[in-house]
């Protein structure tokens, strides 16, 4: 950064610092955009209105500026920002041109310092965004996004797109309250959404719609609960009969499909964390390989006695390693009912031979699966029962995934484990009776006070379990409530904890929900108590 630029930044900061506090305590009326979601870490603004050229030019700099990820994102966002401006606007543009009136914003400069496109947990997503009028004194381009990685640049582009609003009077895109200076970074490195393609198959196009919508709320991990007892939709070349457990020939993902989903997500700065939930949620595996069942009449959990079981797990993980580059791999481990082990003769004998209780066998299974994942250079993630049942035996690298008990992360981090927060009472999206404010007010660090412990909570995740969510309702069950959690995980704790959220958050959430609608995402009304209900009557999107 040149000294001049630094000086200018400081000046901007000093000049507009006053407006920060006022913006938080008294939001403007609902129809006075722009409203940002999630709220940036630091921002300041003024009171100018700037027009944006539909032909705004992309100027890139830095080692990563030329990345195709940046270019593709720029094109995507231009499509979203200028979806209204058609013939008339360009006519207006021509008139303005003839009058030698220029647009205020004619270029968008994206500076990316790192040339690496590696997308992993903890990747630097910070960025600064400056929007100001070009004038003779200014050495700053009209809009500048500066980031250390391409993924920070993506977050900056999202914020920029939320500053842009179509003005119906001039029929052009305007940025209100300029100049803007935004310095932003996420509070948590892991901000997830779970989808479940076992209870209902989700077509590829639908998964892509979900991923795209995640990027609007700056979520960054798609937790793909691929398989469960109901169906096994994914192709695994090493054990090609496994996807016989799919609902139908039609409801399957090929290896190439899964790779395409990972590629699509990466272009949007989103990691894909796959899950195979063993040994308790795996009945569908046995459709292709009945040997994996304890017996034909008792099919779950997977047969703990056979090496074949672990060969299959190893084969699946080897196949998946080629598809999923993310360092975290979810091994499930929840809700293991071991009755089948007790009641199947050969398993019972095996247990007796090793002097195992069923609980010992459960531990044995999970730990052996962990070692397989680790051997494939994966960090295992397990649901919390593994921690509460035999926590001290878990591999120390394990990330404990909370869902059941509200203080489990507190306990897990005290033992030095990392933790992901998904308290079912608030962050299970299939619980339709949890309104947005309860989602919003749920704090992953609640009760965790030591800084060293807090750091071990890598983030949280909202879970869209699929029992009653298929293609027809999945997006409106996710949105807008997932956005409430997204702001909790992105914005500073102070910003989301202070004040009356009916004033500080609700108008912006209304606005964000309508923004999702405007981008074609069927986010449900905010104000309904029950999720995914239709609007209660005619009315404005911003008031429902």
């Amino acid at each position: 950064m040149s000294p001049n630029l630094l000086l200018l930044l400081l000046l901007l900061l000093m000049f507009f610092s006053l407006s920060i506090t006022s913006s938080l305590s008294s939001p403007s009326p609902a129809d006075s955009p722009p409203y940002l979601w999630p709220l940036p870490a630091e921002f300041s603004f003024g009171n100018e209105t700037l027009s944006v050229d539909p032909a705004v030019a992309l100027i890139v700099a830095g080692h990563g500026g030329g990345s195709p990820i940046v270019r593709a994102a720029f094109e995507r966002y231009m499509g979203m920002i200028f979806k209204h401006a058609s013939g008339r606007a360009s006519l207006l543009a021509r008139i303005r041109f003839l009058r030698m009136v220029e647009y205020d914003i004619t270029s968008l400069k994206i500076v990316v310092h790192s040339g690496s496109e590696e997308l992993q947990l903890g990747v630097d997503e910070s960025y600064t965004l400056m929007v100001s009028k070009k004038d003779e004194q200014s050495i700053v381009g009209a809009v500048t996004i500066e980031a250390n990685t391409v993924y920070g640049a993506l977050r900056g582009l999202e914020t920029f797109s939320q500053l842009c609003a179509f003005d119906y009077l001039t029929q052009s895109v305007q940025i209100y309250k300029a100049p803007w200076y935004i310095q932003d970074k996420p509070r948590f490195q892991y901000r997830g959404l779970l989808i479940d393609t076992s209870r209902h198959y989700l077509p590829i196009d639908v998964i892509k719609q979900i991923i795209e919508s995640m990027s609007f709320a700056k979520l960054n991990v798609l937790h793909w609960h691929i398989v469960d007892e109901q169906s096994f939709p994914l192709e695994t070349p090493t054990y090609p009969n496994l996807w016989k457990g799919a609902y139908s020939r039609w409801e399957r993902y090929t290896v190439e499909d899964a790779s395409e989903i990972v590629r699509f997500a990466k272009m949007r700065g989103i990691n894909v964390m796959p899950e195979v939930d063993v040994p308790g949620h795996a009945e569908s595996w046995g459709t292709g390989y009945p040997d994996l069942w304890p017996s034909l009449s008792c099919r779950e959990p997977l047969d703990v006695t056979k090496n074949f079981t672990f060969d299959v797990i190893s084969g699946i993980l080897a196949d998946m390693r080629k598809i999923f580059p993310f360092e975290l791999f979810h091994l499930g481990g929840d809700e293991v009912n071991t009755d089948c082990w007790k009641n199947t003769t050969h398993v019972k004998e095996w247990l007796q031979g090793r002097n195992f209780t069923t609980k010992d066998a459960y531990k044995y299974f999970v730990l052996r699966a962990q070692q397989i994942a680790i051997s494939k250079n994966w960090t295992p993630v397990n649901w919390e029962e593994t921690f509460s049942s035999f926590g001290k035996y878990l591999d120390p690298r394990t990330v404990v995934h909370n869902w059941l008990v509200s203080d489990i992360c507190q306990k897990a981090v005290a033992k030095g484990f990392r933790c992901i927060f998904s308290n079912q009472g608030y962050w299970y999206l299939d619980h339709l009776d949890v309104p947005w404010d309860e989602v919003y007010n749920t704090e992953p660090l609640h009760g965790i006070n030591e800084t060293s412990h807090q750091k071990l909570v890598i983030g949280g995740e909202v879970c869209m379990w699929g029992e009653t969510a298929d293609t027809s309702v999945v997006l409106q069950t996710i949105w807008p409530r997932a956005a409430a959690a997204a702001e909790r995980m992105w914005s500073t704790r102070e910003a989301v904890s202070k004040g009356n959220i009916t004033l500080t958050a609700l108008p912006r959430l209304h606005y964000f929900r309508c923004l999702l609608n405007n981008r074609g995402v069927p986010a449900a009304p905010v104000d309904n108590f029950y999720a995914r209900r239709p609007p209660s009557g005619p009315g404005s999107c911003y008031a429902q």
Binding site: A30, D31, P33, H84, S86, G87, R88, A165, F166, Y168, Q171, S198, R199, H200, Y201, P203, I204, D205, V206, Q209, Q230, S231, E235, Y247, S248, W250, E251, R252, Y253, T254, E256, D257, G466, E467, T468, A469, D470, T471, S472, V473, L475, Q476, C514, N517, N518, R519, G520, P522, R532, P534, P535, S536, G537, P538, G539, S540, C541, Y542, A543, Q544
Partner: protein, 535 residues
């Protein structure tokens, strides 16, 4: 509405080759998984594959496609076919067997125009050869819009082969001759009760093409909001819900253009005088008074000047031959209750009912002067049917028996009886949508020909961007088959087509359309885990 397709029958000798034995048994037809069912289908039992660079060939076509409607339609067809899975199988792979590889689709269109004309020929003939035959599929149509329907049918023949990871067509050779039963196959959307963003409307239009619907009835304005820009009266869209829940004039033109390129007409509606309260937000003098705001002031010339301005602006972008003038649910008490209007009524010796008639007829004249034929809701016919302009199309919604009376009087009719075809009635199951016969009890051929078709109505009181798709689909598809497929081929018991409709619902899902499960009424959610095909 029948028989125009006959003109192109037998153009190529190739077609006649496959005509023998074209009629398949009902069970076999149900196995075909095509929705809506084509007029004539025959098929064989062989498998063919689509080449990795499946091409569009148009040699011999009179249609030049200067605006790219066909090319775009072809590309969209390939896109949706490839949407289900990543096609990664080897191009022109010898494993597929050389002769079993389809190199492309040869489209021959005999009309050079790309004007989307109401009632024009929508027929097509589609031939997919057997592996022994030349390696192109053939699609013939009179117009490019017929060809688009053929592309939709072709897309439904294509499946993903999970072993070879290429697109395949089973049961070749195929020989399909098809045309719609009715020329008007509509879907109403309502952007007054809730604003629908542009991408949402475009998604609805795309999904309509999959079911071969061809009229988007755009109920733009109503009591609650006035979202559209009207250049002649620029304050009208002050009645929008907010400054951003609006359509510019260009947006509307873009929607019309988007629909037209997919063979879909846009029928614009202003519902006067009864459903127009939001007009007065920008021009309060359109209200009888500040505290009695509906219907529009019948006594003021300004009212009709505004209607004239709106329809004049409409005529620049809405190129469909019809405009819908509403005219339903007119509660005229505001007119008598407002002294100024009561005086005017007295002066002109009009009852409230007569003023209602006067209003509707005057609005009709204005529409005619802008080159439109008018459509009005059935109350206008029920109240003063003999006075309506003879070019009026009466839009049924309330009762049964109206269609019979309308056509008996020589007027044309569109069927939308609310008990069966109102999509906002979410307790109405798809079977009722399938079963609803527009020509019910109409025996006379002349009268039958006056029934232009039907329309399913997605009223927007409880419909916004979040739930419109699953409230429309799959029930609208059930009506779409009723409107497209020859009467004789329709199932007398709708439950017989359940499997095929479930398949179409899953196809919509695969294409990113949020079509709801079949089991239950409208917009039902799945009750438990399960296959899309079984719910």
């Amino acid at each position: 509405m029948r028989g125009r397709g006959a003109k192109i029958a037998g153009v190529l000798p190739l077609f006649t080759l496959f005509m023998a034995g074209a009629i398949s048994a009902f069970e076999d037809i149900e196995r075909l998984r095509i929705w809506p069912l084509p007029a004539e289908v025959s098929h064989g039992g062989r498998r063919m594959y689509l080449s990795g660079d499946f091409k569009l060939v148009t040699e011999g076509s009179k249609y030049e496609d200067t605006t790219g409607i066909l090319k775009e339609g072809f590309d969209r067809m390939l896109d949706v076919v490839r949407l289900s899975h990543v096609v990664s199988g080897g191009r022109n792979s010898s494993r597929s067997g050389g002769s079993a590889l389809l190199q492309g689709l040869h489209v021959i269109i005999s009309s050079s125009t790309d004007e989307l004309e109401y009632g024009a020929d929508e027929s097509y003939k589609l031939v997919v050869p057997s592996p022994e035959k030349p390696s192109y599929a053939h699609l013939e149509a009179k117009s490019v819009y017929g060809a688009l329907h053929g592309l939709q049918t072709f897309s439904q023949l294509c499946h993903f082969n999970l072993k070879k990871k290429v697109i395949e067509i089973l049961m070749t050779p195929w020989n399909i001759t098809d045309q719609p039963r009715f020329s008007y196959r509509g879907l109403l959307i309502d952007t007054s009760r809730h604003y629908l963003p542009l991408p949402v409307i475009k998604n609805v239009i795309d999904s309509m093409t999959y079911a071969k619907l061809n009229v988007l009835h755009w109920h733009i304005v109503d009591t609650q909001s006035f979202p559209l820009e009207i250049p002649s009266y620029p304050k009208l869209w002050n009645g929008a819900y907010s400054s951003s829940q609006r359509y510019t004039f260009d947006d509307a033109a873009e929607i019309v253009n988007y629909a037209q390129r997919r063979g879909i007409h846009v029928l614009a509606e202003i519902d006067v005088p009864g459903h127009a309260l939001s007009w007065g937000k920008g021009y309060p003098s359109l209200w009888p008074s500040k505290n009695c705001q509906e219907p529009l002031d019948v006594s003021s010339n300004f009212t009709f000047k505004v209607i004239d301005g709106i329809l004049s602006d409409f005529s620049k972008i809405f190129k469909f031959k019809f405009v819908h003038l509403g005219g339903d649910e007119v509660n005229t008490t505001c007119w008598s209750a407002t002294p100024r209007i009561a005086q005017w009524l007295k002066k002109h010796r009009m009852s409230e009912e007569e003023a209602y008639q006067y209003f509707v007829l005057r609005a009709q004249k204005i529409a005619l002067s802008h080159g439109y034929e008018t459509i009005n809701w059935e109350e206008t016919f029920n109240n003063f049917g003999s006075k309506l302009n003879p070019k009026t199309v009466v839009h049924n919604w309330l009762g049964t028996g109206v269609v019979e009376r309308v056509t008996a009087s020589g007027l044309r009719c569109i069927v939308s009886n609310q008990d069966k075809w109102y999509l906002d009635h979410i307790d109405a199951p798809w079977q009722g949508f399938y079963d609803n016969e527009p020509l019910q009890d109409i025996k006379d051929k002349k009268q039958q020909s006056l029934v232009l078709g039907g329309e399913v109505c997605m009223w927007g009181e409880h419909i916004d961007a979040s739930d419109i798709e699953q409230t429309i689909w799959p029930r609208a598809a059930a009506a779409a088959e009723r409107l497209w497929t020859p009467y004789a081929k329709l199932a007398t018991n709708p439950d017989k087509v359940t499997t095929r409709l479930a398949h179409f619902r899953c196809l919509l899902n695969q294409r990113g359309v949020a079509a709801a499960p079949l089991v239950g009424g409208g917009r039902v959610v799945p009750l438990e885990p399960g296959s899309c095909l079984a719910q």
